[in-house]
């Protein structure tokens, strides 16, 4: 069946494209073989579905009225100027850039879409040179199962609901979001939008969405407030990165390299040890890092950092004993 359907869709496109005027539905029924063979009701259904599918492909089908005799009849056409990609020529250098861009996405359907776009632009032929322009080959993965539904919901402005698990909490929470935008940062995807439950702008990491993303209601259900900049919102919602203080940490010679490499200063201390001064904004995170070095790093100052490390290490012993 499918090939016949492909032929029918192709012939419908051609028919609507080559006509200068709106083609009445009755005329279409005569012109397209499959339609001719259907009972009136079946034809109506088939034609409606076909129209929808072609619109899904991005084909602009216009509806207008055709005067025939005394009646106005509904007719259809595809305006060539709306259908066709305007002709473009690219220099060899520009074509190379497009060829590289087509290799960036690691998400199957977007990788396919971008390769097809490059083909349509005529920038990738059998003879295209794909030697990388610079040696860098960036890859953009989107392995999160929630990526595709959110990507679509952002474009169609459809409200979504999902279960979301935040670290440090037990059990996922049900959330309802008007997704304004989608953001990739450090290889992970985030959705930014209006959280209907919290009545506030929120950011969600897609990998923390458990189960499937449900679409709620119809497309174009909300408007993104004027002047919203996804990057600025994301930056505002990310944890602050201002420096809170300077820590003094005693590190064994040759060890604690992660601390040493970002230290403001490293000065010799007692034999076999140095003292590193490190700026930080999150005492808990720094305490965890220091604990990771076991007996090769000792927090000296500030006192709350020192307490944090001791508490952290003791917690470890309690748990191991349990």
């Amino acid at each position: 069946m499918a090939p016949r359907k492909s032929e029918r869709l192709m012939n419908l496109v051609i028919c609507l494209l080559v006509s200068r005027h709106f083609v009445p539905k009755a005329k279409l029924r005569q012109l397209v073989e499959d339609y001719r063979e259907q009972a009136p009701e079946a034809f109506e259904k088939m034609f409606e579905r076909d129209k929808e599918e072609l619109r899904d492909l991005g084909i602009p089908i216009e509806v207008g009225s055709v005067t025939s005799g005394f009646d106005d009849e509904v007719g259809y056409r595809i305006r060539r100027s709306e259908f066709e990609l305007p002709p473009l020529t690219f220099t060899a250098e520009e074509a190379t850039v497009l060829g590289l861009a087509a290799r960036v996405w690691q998400h199957a359907s977007l990788a396919e879409a971008t390769s097809r776009a490059v083909l349509k632009l005529g920038a990738d032929g059998l003879d295209t040179d794909t030697t990388p322009l610079s040696a860098l080959e960036p890859r953009l993965p989107a392995g999160e199962p929630a990526f595709e539904p959110i990507w679509r919901a952002v474009q169609t402005r459809t409200v979504v609901t999902f279960d979301y698990r935040r670290p440090g909490t037990t059990g996922p929470q049900h959330r309802t979001l008007e997704p304004w935008g989608i953001l990739n940062w450090r290889g992970r995807w985030y959705a930014v939008g209006h959280d209907r439950d919290r009545q506030a702008t929120r950011m969600f990491r897609l990998s923390r969405i458990t189960g499937s993303v449900q679409l709620l209601g119809k497309p174009r259900a909300f408007t993104v407030p004027d002047g919203v900049d996804i990057r600025a919102e994301a930056a505002r919602l990310s944890p602050a990165t201002d420096q809170r203080g300077v820590a003094r940490i005693r590190v064994r010679e040759g060890a604690g390299n992660g601390l040493r490499r970002r230290a403001v200063s490293v000065t010799p201390d007692m034999p076999g040890w140095d003292v590193a001064e490190v700026t930080f904004h999150d005492a808990v995170a720094l305490a965890e890092e220091i604990a990771g070095y076991a007996s090769d790093a000792v927090a000296l100052d500030p006192p709350d950092l020192r307490e944090s490390v001791i508490r952290h290490l003791k917690g470890l012993l309690v748990e191991v004993a349990r």
Partner: protein, 332 residues
């Protein structure tokens, strides 16, 4: 009458029509293109391509009189394996870009712009502008997608590494290996730069490991250009990173960790063989560990929010580490 195979392939009729609308202009512009090449360019099998051509054979202008059909020379397709298409001038231009095509490409170009060299920016910007013009409405959603590419590496390191790649020269690196808490010296024949998981890596032949290694640029303490040319041996092949950066080997030992909700990020961050949710909301994960020092350090960082269940000797080692670390606070 000739009756070619016409199956629609994956995605059904809709995908086939999408493909045909892109393929027809391509075939008209590349008369005599080879079946193998066209199949590769469109990412389909040769069998599917022949089936697609079979569909075109039944398409044409309304009325469908003999001269109205698109002409596909099936003899040369089956004989010499080349494609000639004619009588299809009404579909000589491809359909304008869909939202996914336009947005996907624009996002990709922005990634290239963010990771490329200063000197390439003007060229990439030109392509972006032209594409936005061509895409028109389809690129309207561009402000809704953002990709932030930050470089955290030392700019001097980045410049030296790029110069070495351009000139094909060997590098001397001082490189920090967090797992072993070491800064090591090594000579590397650079092969390529890759961006993965948001970090920039240099892939190259490491003379110390005598193998291909990936070096995260922000962990390179210093890089120095050597006089020797880069000469990776023939067996040096870039790794296939499509499955992710961490690719545990089946030879690596298995470890079991119990993670409280605060430590659940571990299951997200590292590839696990198995993740089981326990009744109290904690997770039981099994993962491959190439170097036990890595797990020891991870367990120390996680503190009371995680437990090493297996292997038992590793759990004991973590306990001893913690006891010794605590002792330092009693004596100071």
């Amino acid at each position: 009458m000739y009756e070619p195979a016409r199956s629609a392939g994956p995605g059904g009729a809709k995908e086939q029509v999408r493909r045909l609308l892109a393929m027809l202009p391509y075939l008209l512009a590349h008369q005599g293109a080879r079946v193998t090449d066209v199949a590769r360019v469109f990412g389909i099998t040769e069998k599917q391509l022949v089936a697609d051509l079979g569909v075109l054979w039944f398409c044409g202008l309304p009325g469908m009189m003999p001269g109205d059909y698109i002409e596909v020379d099936m003899d040369t397709v089956e004989g010499e394996g080349v494609i000639h298409v004619s009588n299809a001038d009404f579909l000589a231009r491809p359909l304008r870009l869909s939202a996914d095509e336009a947005l996907g490409l624009l996002v990709a170009l922005r990634v290239l712009r963010g990771t490329g060299r200063e000197s390439e920016r003007a060229l990439i910007d030109r392509v972006i502008t032209r594409l936005e013009d061509a895409a028109g409405q389809a690129s309207g959603g561009m402000d809704k997608v953002a990709v932030r590419v930050d470089s955290w590496e030392d700019p001097q390191v980045g410049a030296v590494v790029r110069e070495a790649l351009d000139q094909g020269r060997r590098l001397h690196l001082r490189y920090w290996v967090p797992t072993r808490d070491e800064t090591t010296d090594r000579d590397v024949d650079p092969m390529r730069l890759v961006l993965a998981d948001g970090w920039t890596y240099l892939e190259g032949w490491c003379h110390r490991a005598e193998d291909v290694r990936l070096f995260r640029l922000d962990r390179v303490a210093s890089a120095e250009l050597l006089d020797e040319p880069a000469a990776p041996p023939p067996q040096a092949r870039p790794r296939d990173l499509s499955a992710g950066l961490f690719q545990p080997s089946p030879d690596d030992a298995l470890a079991t960790l119990e993670l409280d909700p605060q430590a659940a990020w571990v299951a997200e961050y590292y590839p696990c063989e198995e993740v089981t949710e326990l009744r109290d909301g904690s997770l039981l994960v099994r993962l491959r560990v190439a170097d036990p020092r890595w797990l020891r350090r991870l367990a120390l960082r996680l503190g009371g929010t995680a437990r090493v269940v297996e292997p038992a000797e590793l759990a004991e080692a973590v306990r001893e580490d913690a006891v010794r670390a605590l002792a330092a606070y009693e004596s100071t």
